[in-house]
């Protein structure tokens, strides 16, 4: 109760602490919680190692990888990239909305981003079911083993991220957003951007890079 009253009676301090961008030269600020960045970099390193392993295997049997890659639907991959890019923009606008105390805009932005994530999932469902219908499974060849492992791991992140976006939409509706709650929102937003940027590398690597 005390901290609530304190925050209510001193809004200028609270607002300024939610706005790192306005005095960027004097107060550099870790988005979200520092611990979250350990998780984010752990994920980045894990996917980096998987991407490198994929290219090593590709180098050993380029003809097989090129042949198998041709069966992928590049257009669906591009649509998925655009969906995630749009969702990231909505999330970034949502965070600015929370910072500016705009309680109408932010929950909407997070919800629209969540819908983009659902669209990505639907596209992936179409893609997987088409592959399985044609008898293409992880056991088909090395390329498809990587295809299912990499896109499957990424899809897990998308599902987790959609849960995070639902949490953000609920938090952004709150009438009292203190520094800690704002750190949760910023951290959740960064997790969603991570989902986006992993796909940004995964998509060209699987669908576009050829020798």
């Amino acid at each position: 109760v005390n901290s609530h009253v304190h925050a209510e009676t001193s809004p200028p301090q609270e607002v300024s602490r939610l706005k790192p961008a306005d005095n960027s030269a004097t107060s550099r600020h870790v988005p979200g919680e520092p611990g979250l960045w350990v998780l984010i970099f752990g994920d980045l390193v894990l996917f980096g190692a998987l991407f490198t392993t994929f290219l090593v295997y590709r180098g050993h049997s380029p003809a097989l990888f090129t042949r198998s890659q041709r069966a992928l639907d590049v257009d669906l991959g591009v649509v998925n990239t655009l969906l995630l890019l749009a969702s990231s923009l909505f999330v970034a606008i949502g965070v600015r909305g929370v910072r500016r105390r705009n309680r109408q805009l932010a929950p909407w932005m997070f919800t629209v981003a969540l819908c983009c994530g659902a669209g990505f999932g639907f596209d992936k469902y179409l893609e997987y079911s088409d592959k399985v219908e044609h008898g293409i499974t992880p056991a088909t060849d090395t390329f498809y083993m990587f295809y299912y492992v990499l896109t499957g791991l990424h899809m897990l992140h998308v599902l987790l991220g959609m849960g995070v976006l639902a949490f953000l939409a609920a938090q952004a509706r709150s009438t009292h957003i203190d520094v800690r709650r704002f750190a949760y929102i910023e951290g959740g937003a960064c997790f969603w951007h991570l989902v986006d940027l992993l796909w940004i590398v995964l998509f060209p690597l699987l669908y576009l890079v050829r020798s």
Binding site: P31, F41, L89, I93, H193, P204, L208
Partner: protein
């Protein structure tokens, strides 16, 4: 809100990301005959430019402590060079 979106150039960054996606799409599906080494290396470079844009502007690492910002930039640079190196050499 809209003034902070304009100041942070969010829409401009997003348009650059979409344009880069279309560029990679063209490079990856163009009807040129093999080898596609140059196009593929370019596609990888474009991908990491996009990753860095997302980190700097959407994750707001531009305003993060230098250690975090530098670590992210180093990750982008090292992974990009590793992937290109493996793709070209193996």
């Amino acid at each position: 809100v809209w003034s902070s979106i304009l100041r942070d150039r969010l829409l401009l960054v997003w348009l650059a990301l979409v344009a880069a996606t279309v560029l990679s799409w063209g490079l990856g599906t163009g009807s040129s005959s093999p080898p596609h080494i140059t196009a593929s290396v370019l596609i990888l470079v474009v991908a990491f430019v996009k990753v860095r844009l997302i980190g700097a502007h959407f994750m707001e690492l531009r305003q993060a402590p230098l250690f975090l910002k530098t670590l992210f930039d180093l990750y982008c640079l090292i992974l990009c060079l590793t992937l290109i190196g493996v793709f070209v050499a193996v």
